[in-house]
Amino acid sequence: MRFAVPVFPGSNCDEDCAKAVREILDRPVDLVWHKDGNLDAYDAIILPGGFSYGDYLRTGALARFSPVMEAVAKAADKGKLVLGICNGFQVLLESGLLPGAMRVNDHLKFRCSIQTLRVENNQSPFTGLYQAGEEIQLPIAHGEGNYYCDQETLDKLEVQGQIIFRYSGQNPNGSVAGIAGIVNRRGNVLGLMPHPERAIYDWMGSSDGARMFQSMLRYWEGMHGAA
């Protein structure tokens, strides 16, 4: 299984994501400059966190027009796995690969802390190794993680099992229905605000994020073999 991590000007968790793939999965991973329009060689795409284009105008708004985003849409369409973390989630929203939009945190401040999340759906390619309803610890670090969608969309997300993670206990940003991460209808595109790549060893404060990467690998190689 080959991974790509697109790098936008201003991405700053690109290396962290690549490191997690290398160290936790021991699979090849490439950083791909945003001007590259081709991701055909990869099975999974991780859109990293950071501040693409400084988050100017709206988070993710300027990055979505990068050439690499066309390739990401194509990859999603082919059923490859796409994981958008933090800014990556925001880019997925802006580009319409996931429904909804992001607003500034309800308290208006940037918030960096380790949060408890509930795994709402462990049937996705990204969560197979978690228990349904399990509480896990993942760090967040964002100023605009206040997820919004209208009621109709929310109902659909609920009914179709697209809400993958919710904040448990205190909601750190005011997001609708405590949403921390959602998948698309097909289930192969996950966007979440928390950072699994920052929680892969106990010394980081939690190692619960490692299973997200491992779930992806298990799912993919279960379907396609260990290519």
Binding site: P9, G50, G54, C112
Partner: protein, 763 residues
């Protein structure tokens, strides 16, 4: 373009660039040099250096180069007293940042810098651009920045303007560090009336490089191109360096330069591009444009290279139209770098800069005649001997005078509280004081985990950052207690270094060296100069004894608005953790672990948090420091940690032993039962701020070995209790004086700052 061939004879320099500018004779006759902060004597010197009257552009260049901020004219003689050498030092003071060897061909690069005046005027941008500046200092050395810290001083949070300044300064620091993607892992915050009109914002950056990547800010090689890269130049921040070298008077509003706004996104691109250039080995010299902008960076590079430089200002990317040479040269627009590269390799450089979509231009050439020459629209507008700007900058030798208050303080008793107060009540009050209270409100706004290297996050004695591919790690912290220094500059200066080292040691690291920021009032006041001198001496002595040389720093004088701030030297310390296994935090971790207090406790409440709370001010003498004892303490703690005996270590600082115990219990909400025998009264004992002490928790199985080590090394060591339950209980001489659920104490400690910040603020 500037001609590469050499000018052997002096060029013709225009008298003025526009009709609005004064002519050289008008400057002389109207004494206009005073307007840019130069005095008669300095003006005379300039005239002598040039052999003619300076024009307005040249005067501007001298005024910023000779400002305190760039030339350290008041502090230079004192800074020479710092020990700056050591076998581990790769680069001492003088470059963008200092560098220290950490083995394996790697080095740590770090520096601290103030942005006090800009923050007082516009807290968000002022603090943000302070962070941006210090990051450039570190990557201009060729290092990859890996961590940020910040040391903050504000007036009391009961004041709504202070809340505004504090809130926005923190947001500005957060903004810059978060966007650029460097974790802000530590720092400190202190509140005191003396900072009300003049807050302090000191930012520190730590980077890592391979020895062979170390860069210098030199211009060498005649004919080599000088390349400008980064944001375009606007009129912002003109005379920022001079502004920083004056008191904040009533008219600060009018005088202040137009505020510099930071663009961390641009700096992220600049950072990546510069590191790529370093890795390619193309650079001969690199320096960031910080205070005094293009002028300072180019003149210093030429001076260090013992060369000359010619610049053509028409090539400088400009954001505004109609800028004069004076404005272009003195602008402090942010996110700009100056590079000198080998002639003929411009295209290689260009390729990298294009990838990162950075504006750039060849703006000059290195020359060999030690002249600093500036061209603008085909005319020469300045021609100055380089060394007169840097090496020959005036030095002011001042003498200090002992302040009246210092003498008076000698007679004030500080060996017991001025008011009878029960220890339990005292603990509640001290934990609720904004100085001691949890700073989570601050550091939660900072991304402290990006780069996934942060092993100890904010909230322990020092932060620890692991190094990619190595078992080693770096511990780092900032410290400085202005109240101690106010009461006794020498003791306070030494204590700042000692506390910083102690914090790093408690985290499992060997202290390597320091960077410092000297925040003081006007050196023209003999009493302030006396404070500066005493603090530098105290710090120097501590650095010598603890073998932590000073590898860089920054001086911020004229910190006055309504009154003078407390003299506040801030120490940024970096230590090396030999193995990740040694990483230690302050939190109690297992019930049944034994609690030891290392060091002796004396009745020392002068300058303490308890005294401040009870009396509303500090008085007397601060705690005394014995540096030999301090050093011994560090050695034994480090040995015990490296042997694997230590489950937690926390030094005693503000709030004394009581606060140390409480803080150790908060993280895992694990209480302690503590019993103390002492000849002192309970409150004094528990809240004294005697130096050279730490609290360790040790698993029972290592207790004997640990105690033996302490005996062998003759370090005073008392077993005072055991980690246990969910309450903190303390008995002194058989009498229970504190008994409180940890949860309750923690909520007082965590609630104080958020609660204070809930009130409204206004700009």
């Amino acid at each position: 373009m500037v001609q590469p061939e050499q000018q052997t004879t002096a060029v013709h320099v225009v008298e003025r660039v526009t009709d609005q500018e004064p002519t050289p004779t008008q400057i002389r006759d109207g004494e206009l040099f005073q307007e840019v902060g130069l005095n008669h004597e300095e003006y005379q010197q300039i005239t002598k250096h040039l052999g003619r009257l300076p024009n307005w552009t040249e005067l501007g260049i001298y005024s910023v180069m000779w400002s305190e901020h760039c030339s350290y004219k008041n502090s230079k003689p004192l800074l020479k007293r710092f020990p700056v050498e050591g076998p581990q030092v790769l680069q001492g003071p003088g470059e963008g940042a200092g560098a220290i060897d950490i083995g394996d061909g790697q080095a740590v690069v770090f520096k601290i810098e103030s942005h006090n005046h800009p923050t007082a005027v516009e807290p968000f941008q002022g603090a943000a651009t302070g962070v941006g500046g210090i990051i450039r200092d570190v990557f201009s050395m060729g290092a990859r920045p890996v961590a940020l810290l910040n040391s903050l001083r504000f007036g009391p949070l009961s004041n709504s303007r202070v809340r505004y300044l504090f809130e926005h300064a923190v947001a500005g620091i957060a903004h810059y560090g978060n966007v650029i993607g460097i974790p802000t892992v530590g720092g400190e915050v202190d509140f005191d009336d003396s900072y009300e009109g003049n807050p302090l914002v000191n930012a520190m950056c730590v980077g890592v490089l391979s020895h062979d990547e170390l860069q210098k800010g030199v211009a060498k090689g005649v004919g080599n191109p000088v390349i400008y890269v980064g944001a375009s130049t606007g009129r912002d921040g003109i005379h920022g360096a001079t502004f920083a070298s004056e008191e904040l008077g009533e008219d600060a509003e009018e005088k202040r330069p137009s505020v510099q706004a930071g663009d961390p996104f641009m700096e992220k691109l600049l950072l990546e591009a510069c590191i790529e250039l370093v890795k390619k080995g193309i650079l001969i010299g690199i320096q960031d444009m910080g205070a005094a902008g293009l002028t300072c960076s180019s003149a210093e590079m030429a001076s260090k290279g013992e060369t000359g430089m010619e610049l053509d200002l028409d090539q400088v990317p400009q954001r505004e139209t109609g800028m004069t040479p004076y404005e272009i040269l003195l602008s402090e627009s942010q996110e700009r770098m100056l590079l000198v590269v080998e002639d003929g390799r411009e295209a290689e450089v260009q390729e990298v800069l294009d990838k990162w979509e950075l504006p750039s231009a060849v703006v000059g050439r290195v020359t060999n005649d030690n002249r600093y020459r500036i061209r603008h629209q085909g005319r020469w507008v300045a021609d100055i001997p380089v060394q007169t700007l840097v090496d020959d900058a005036p030095v002011v030798y001042r003498t200090g005078k002992e302040p009246e208050a210092y003498r008076q303080n000698a007679g004030i008793r500080v060996d017991q509280p001025s008011v009878d107060i029960h220890p339990g009540e005292a603990l509640n009050q001290v934990l609720a004081s904004s100085n001691v209270a949890s700073k989570r409100w601050v550091y939660e706004q900072y991304d402290h985990m990006v780069r996934t290297s942060t092993a100890v996050r904010p909230g322990s004695d020092a932060a620890v950052v692991v190094l990619d591919g190595l078992d080693k790690a770096l511990a780092m912290c900032t410290d400085g207690n202005g109240r101690y220094v106010y009461l006794d500059p020498q003791e306070g200066g030494a204590a700042a270094v000692a506390e910083a080292a102690r914090n790093v040691v408690c985290s499992g690291a060997r202290p390597l060296g320091i960077t410092d920021c000297l925040n003081f009032g006007s050196p023209e006041k003999p009493e302030v100069f006396w404070q500066l001198e005493g603090a530098v001496d105290g710090m120097s002595e501590a650095c010598r004894q603890l073998e932590t040389p000073v590898v860089g720093g920054n001086v911020s004088l004229y910190n006055e608005s309504k009154g003078t701030i407390h003299p506040t030297p801030v120490v940024g310390m970096v230590g090396l953790v030999e193995s990740r296994q040694h990483i230690t935090t302050q939190a109690f971790k297992e019930e049944g672990d034994l609690i030891y207090l290392l060091g002796e406790t004396f009745a020392e409440l002068g300058g303490s948090e308890l005294q401040l709370i009870l009396d509303g001010k500090v008085s007397g003498r601060p705690p005394k420091i014995d540096l030999q004892r301090e050093k011994k303490l560090h050695q034994v703690i480090l040995t015990a940690i490296q042997k694997g005996w230590v489950r937690s270590a926390h030094d005693c600082s503000s709030g004394g032993l009581a606060v140390t115990l409480a803080e150790s219990s908060f993280d895992h909400e694990l209480g302690a039962r503590v019993e103390i025998e002492t000849a002192l009264d309970a409150t004094t004992y528990l809240f004294s701020e005697t130096q050279s002490r730490a609290v360790l928790s040790i698993p029972q199985e290592y207790a004997d070995a640990f105690q033996r080590l302490m005996e062998e090394e003759a370090v005073p060591c008392a077993k005072i209790g055991e980690v246990s339950g969910s309450c903190l209980t303390v008995e002194v001489n058989g009498q229970q004086v504190i008994d409180a659920p940890v949860k309750e104490l923690k909520s007082i400690w965590e609630g104080a700052i958020p609660c204070a910040m809930n009130a409204s603020s206004t700009n």
